[in-house]
Each structure stands twice: as structure tokens, then as C-alpha cells.
Subunit: 394 residues, 2 copies
């Protein structure tokens, strides 16, 4: 992944001693000039210190760098936590000769312990020296917690005959039910775009991507997605149709990152797309889809490769939407296993069971009420999810 | 438990071959005269055939018997399912010389398979012969599915110097998040009470008991609670204060059954009372309590005996209630582990960890917003929950 570049940006990832296993835990993304910036953050009422700080700073629409640590969420840490978030930004600003308000911060890891900010300060010179236009892979590693693989993707696009690049990295494999973005996601691009347009593109692009995934229904306190635009590619997104080219590519990139997050979810053995069709409106489609995607009984059945459509229809029934079981249909990929009020038989069940043996499949629930639909990406609920989360802090 | 009696009632439990393991799977509760009856049922939009039939029949306020099978839920079984529910009632009515509309039915088990009603019809003569005033223990066994112990409790009360009895049995250890009652619960009493009063007592008594427990958030399609009153004790509940004596005792009995259900929940190793205090109103207290009680991260941490208060505060934060982390307090039994915006220290954490080693404990979240409170009983999320539910139908 060493050849990924995005004009104007450099990235780094080093180990500063926050993760107990000595792996990289401190990352940096920096721009050689003030970049346009947009961010979306958790809607959890309990917000971590770095989220509160970024909410203040991102309003300016400009920033130069983002510093991020893994292993400690700096959440529920009070005034000391806010001071530590500022110190984290200040030490990087000092190394790079920026104003500290031009530096955004992010943290992920355990909630409720004070951030060992002195370790970050001690590592700041090394972090700054490590900045590299080809350093995205190390940044992607530095933000991992229970993730088993780094997530780094890129896209190339063209506006007015001029090429531009988008590079994105994300982390998160538990406490995932973004109410706006997922755990941490950083995107940079060299397209030239106004901060207000960048924000609009981000808001539109996260809705069907990072905001339509769930691992366990637990919305994090630290969810942060930031996108920085250096403008140095020469490709400018000014007219609505130019902005749309960028937005579509950004959405495509975020969709791939979202899929990678769910595929690497804690303990997951299956990637499941829950599609609800035939709904009266999009809101009820989402409500049914999330109820199914969160159901421990549906998720454990998927882990057990059991085509237990009864649990799916029961989840739809308790969703609060006025579903009619006589009009519903349930499909495993293209296999109809429930229709016209009943089971479709042993042959269909055998085919559905075969679908469940695949690493990725779609569960479709057609409500037979209208034309609206919604999709949610989720995963199964495995023994390893319980093992990982029972032992997380020990 | 052979000495439990309730004047006018007899009960039975036999094996008819629906459960694969040959255990008792067909139960009967019968009254020697038409009893007053009240019932509350699942609010899941997908309702099993026996629930639909009982909803029709319970409106009369009178019944003579309840027949129940385990191993098959008779749900999503269409018109044939409704016919089978009626046949189940009719064969028992025939044996006992009752009108079939005087017989209620209940089923629990796998969703979506047709009920093998011929086995029930074949066993009906044996079932009727087995009726015994001391047969409640066998009824309690016959309704078990993944339950590991039968649940049978009783209370004795007095009105106007005359004694009366309440006997109740319940089953259910997964797909438990009653939106009105839990899986199946049958109560009989020999108090003399009008059907309308009986219904009012039941509605009031289930709210803080069977309606305040959750195992996995999955509201069943078959939830049914029935209470039958023979009136044969000589104790009459007519005046409001007499009705209140009965209602309080009924609530006390249902509270014990609710506790037994959660203690025997699938895979559970801990009984957890989630208490939310200091809420602005009862609705928001319930909302926060259920969000915590359903959080897979909180439940797996309890399984791992990890006093991870960060997950509790994060769950409260995503509940939709406008909580303020600066004003919240979190207690493990009497140990305050979070207050004034931060962790209370290592000594408190050690004490909270000791609390988590107990089989039963209370998690209290004080919101610091007002005077309302709510409590929910739940359990931890263990490896065995996943094992049980991954393999349920195989």
C-alpha cells in the first residue's frame, strides 16, 4: 500500500506505549497547507473529550492536521480529559509549526481512564519525523483496536479533465452502531472544494454507508469521521455537477470502508446485508431492518447457519411497524423461504441453509406494504464476540 | 411440590411426542366449574395461532380449561395453524365434557412448523385421566423448552377472615422481552372475583413484574399470561380494598416468577437488576434502563465480571434521553464507581469487581434529572447463550 498518495498530505503511525502490546497506537495525518475540513460526530449524549474539542475546531472549516491515538478513548475524563486533548493537539502543532487550533484530535479505546498524554508528548517528535506521503498504511495500523486488519481504501476521479484522489482509513469492530459515522474514519482528498460543499458531501455520503451498519447496536462515545481537502490536485469541484462527481466517489469509498468494518467486526464469521423492501416509507423500512440486524436470536442463528426465518419474522413483528405476516416474504439471497403466510418447504430450506454457509449473503424481508426500502449491513453473533467483550479490559 | 392445591383446579402434564427428547410436552389446567378468566398477550404484530384464538375466547371472561404444548409454537402456520389450535381445544373439551369455546390454548417452541395435532389428540384421553389437584408440578414441567428448571410458585392470602390461594407457573428462557407478559404464564386462584376486576388486577400486576424483564430484547410471538379464578375458597374480593389484597398478592407471585425466568435465562450466569433513578419521568427511566439491559457490551462485561462502567454510561448516552454525564452516578450494588464526571478510583473498582462475582446484583444509574425511577431485570450474555441459540433447531 506504499504507493498511495494524495497531493499535499502525509501520514504517519508510531508506537508510543498506550497499547499494552507495544503496537503502533499514535497516528498523524497532516496537510502542507490549510485544508478544507468537514466532520460528523457521534450523537451519543456522552461525548469523548476529543469529540467535544473537534466540534469546536471543525466549525472554522479549515485545519492542518489530525492526531489520533488508540488504546484509550479519553471519554468520561472530565476537565483533565479536555486539557489532555488540547495538549495532544498542541504538541503536534509545536512539532509542525502550526497553530494548535489547526490540529484536530481523535481517540479510541477504553472509556474512563485518563489519557497518558505525556507518552504522546514524548513521541511527538518521532511522529512528526515519520510523516511520509506514502505513510497511510501506518496511520491505518495505528488506529486499530480490536480490528484484525487495517482498513485503507482509495479512489481516483476526474473533474474537468483533471485527476484527483480520495484516500480513506477507518477503524472499529465493536461498539458499532454509528448514529452518524463509525468509530473513527479519516479521509483526505486533493480535490479543490469549499468547506461548506465538503460538509454537504460528507453528510450525504455517510447516510447510506457508515450510518447503515451495526455490529452490536452500541453507539460509541467517540464516533468521528473527518474529511480534509488540500485542493492541490488542480481538479476543482465548484459547480453542482462537479461537486456531485466528488460526492459519488466519496460515497463509494465510504461504502467500501463500511463493508470492511462489518467484515472485520468482533467475532464475526458472516457479513449480512439486511434488506427491507415493500415498506410504506423509508423510516419504517429502516426500523424493521435495524430490529432484525440487532436481534441476538437472528444473529446467533446466522452464526449457527440455521435458516431460522421464524426469528426474522418475529423481530419484524416487534419492530413497532404494523407488519402483516400474511403479506410478508423472506428471502435468503434469492431463495424465498417464507411467503403467503407460511414456510415454502424443505427444498427451499435446504437452499437457504446453503446460502448461510457463504461468508456474505443478503436477508431480504419484503413487507408488501409499499415501495420504500432500506438496507443495513450487520454480522453474526458468535462465541468470539462474547469472548472478546467479556475479556476486553483484562 | 405435590401438596400445592387450589380449590376447584386440577392440573396434568404428559409426553405426547412433540419434544424430540421424549419429555413431558403437553399440559392441562382445568377447573371443575366455569372460572373467571383474564389474559394478557404479546404485542408482537406477528401473533401465533393460539394467541389469536385466546384473544377471541378470553373476551367472554369465563373458561374451564387451558391446554398447552411445548416444542412447537404454532406460529406463522396460516389457516391450518388456526384449525390445529381449535382441534387442540376441541379434543380436550371432548374428554372433559366441556364446550370447546370454554378451552383456551397455548403453544411454545419452534416457529413456522405445523403443529403435530394428531399426537395431541391421541394423548388427550391420557392427559384428561392424569388431571390431579396436586398435578401442578407436572404442568410446570410440560411447558418447559430451554428452561432448565420448572417454575412453580404459590401464595396464600386472606380476605374477610377467609383464606385463598394463588398458584402460578411460567416458562421461558430466550426470546424474552415481554411487551405485556412473558412467554407463557398460567395462574389459578380460588378467590371469588369478577372477571373485570381480575383483568384489572392482572394488568396492574404484570407491569412491574413480567413486563419489566428482558433476556435478549426479542419479544416472542406467543407471550401469554392467563389467570383463572374458581371462586371456590369462600374468600370474596368485591370491595376495592379486598380486590387490592388479591392484586398485591398476585403481583408478589408474578414478581417471583419473573425473577425465576431471568435467573434461568438461556446461558445466564448473573441476575442483574438495572435500576435507573433520578429521571425526569418514568418513561425516560424505562428507556435508559432497557437500553442498558439490552446492551451486548454491558451484558458481556457482566459475564466477564468486568466493572466496565464506561459501557454503561455509553449505553445511557445513546438511549435518546438527554442525559448529562456530569450529573450521573453509577453504582454496583452500593459501590459508587462513577460520580461528578469521573471514575471514583481503584478501591471502588475493586469493590465493584467483587460485586460482579455475586450471582445477583444491582446496577444503579442515577441521572440527576428528577425524581422518577424504573427497574428492569436482566441477565448477562454468555458463551452458552450463543451456543444454545446457534444450535436451537438442530
Amino acid at each position: 500500500m506504499g504507493d498511495i498518495r494524495c497531493t499535499g498530505f502525509a501520514a504517519a503511525g508510531v508506537a508510543c506505549g498506550i497499547k499494552k502490546n507495544g503496537k503502533r497506537d499514535l497516528g498523524l495525518l497532516a496537510c502542507e497547507k490549510p485544508a478544507a475540513v468537514a466532520g460528523v460526530f457521534t450523537r451519543n449524549r456522552v461525548k469523548a473529550a476529543p469529540v467535544l474539542l473537534d466540534l469546536e475546531r471543525v466549525a472554522a472549516g479549515r485545519c492542518r492536521a489530525v492526531v489520533v491515538n488508540a488504546g484509550n478513548a479519553n471519554c468520561c475524563t472530565g476537565q483533565q480529559g479536555m486539557r489532555n486533548a488540547r495538549r495532544m493537539a498542541a504538541c503536534v502543532a509545536g512539532e509542525l509549526g502550526m497553530d494548535e487550533t489547526e490540529v484536530l484530535v481523535a481517540s479510541t479505546g477504553v472509556i474512563g481512564q485518563q489519557l497518558p498524554v505525556a507518552r504522546i508528548e514524548a513521541a511527538a517528535p518521532e511522529l512528526a519525523r515519520a510523516l511520509d506521503p506514502c505513510g497511510f498504511g501506518r496511520l491505518a495500523e495505528a488506529i486499530m483496536t480490536t480490528d484484525t486488519v487495517p482498513k485503507l481504501v482509495w479512489r481516483r476521479g476526474e473533474i474537468g479533465g483533471k485527476a484527483f484522489t480520495i484516500v480513506g482509513t477507518a477503524k472499529g469492530s465493536g461498539m458499532i452502531c454509528p448514529d452518524m459515522a463509525t468509530m473513527l474514519c479519516f479521509v483526505c482528498t486533493d480535490v479543490d472544494i469549499a468547506a461548506a460543499d465538503l460538509r454537504e458531501c460528507l453528510v450525504q455520503a455517510v447516510a447510506p454507508t457508515l450510518n447503515a451498519i451495526t455490529v452490536d447496536g452500541d453507539t460509541s462515545t467517540n464516533d468521528t469521521t473527518l474529511v480534509l481537502a488540500s485542493g492541490l490536485s488542480g481538479a476543482a469541484a465548484r459547480k453542482p455537477e462537479e461537486v456531485a462527481v466528488f460526492r459519488d466517489l466519496l460515497q463509494d469509498l465510504l461504502a467500501e470502508l463500511a463493508r470492511m468494518l462489518v467484515r472485520d467486526a468482533e467475532g464475526a464469521t458472516k457479513l449480512i446485508e439486511v434488506a427491507v423492501t415493500g415498506a410504506a416509507d423509508a423510516a419504517e423500512a429502516r426500523r424493521v431492518a435495524y430490529t432484525i440486524a440487532h436481534s441476538p436470536l437472528v444473529k446467533t442463528a446466522c452464526f449457527g447457519q440455521d435458516a431460522n426465518w421464524g426469528r426474522i419474522i418475529a423481530a419484524a413483528g416487534r419492530s413497532g411497524v404494523n407488519v402483516d405476516p400474511q403479506r410478508m416474504r423472506i428471502l435468503f439471497d434469492d431463495v424465498v423461504l417464507y411467503a403467503r403466510g407460511g414456510w415454502t418447504g424443505a427444498a427451499a430450506e435446504a437452499a437457504a441453509t446453503a446460502v448461510l454457509q457463504k461468508p456474505e449473503f443478503r436477508l431480504t424481508v419484503d413487507l408488501g406494504r409499499g415501495a420504500a426500502s432500506a438496507g443495513v449491513l450487520t454480522c453474526d453473533f458468535s462465541l468470539d464476540y462474547v469472548r472478546i467483550n467479556a475479556d476486553y479490559r483484562s
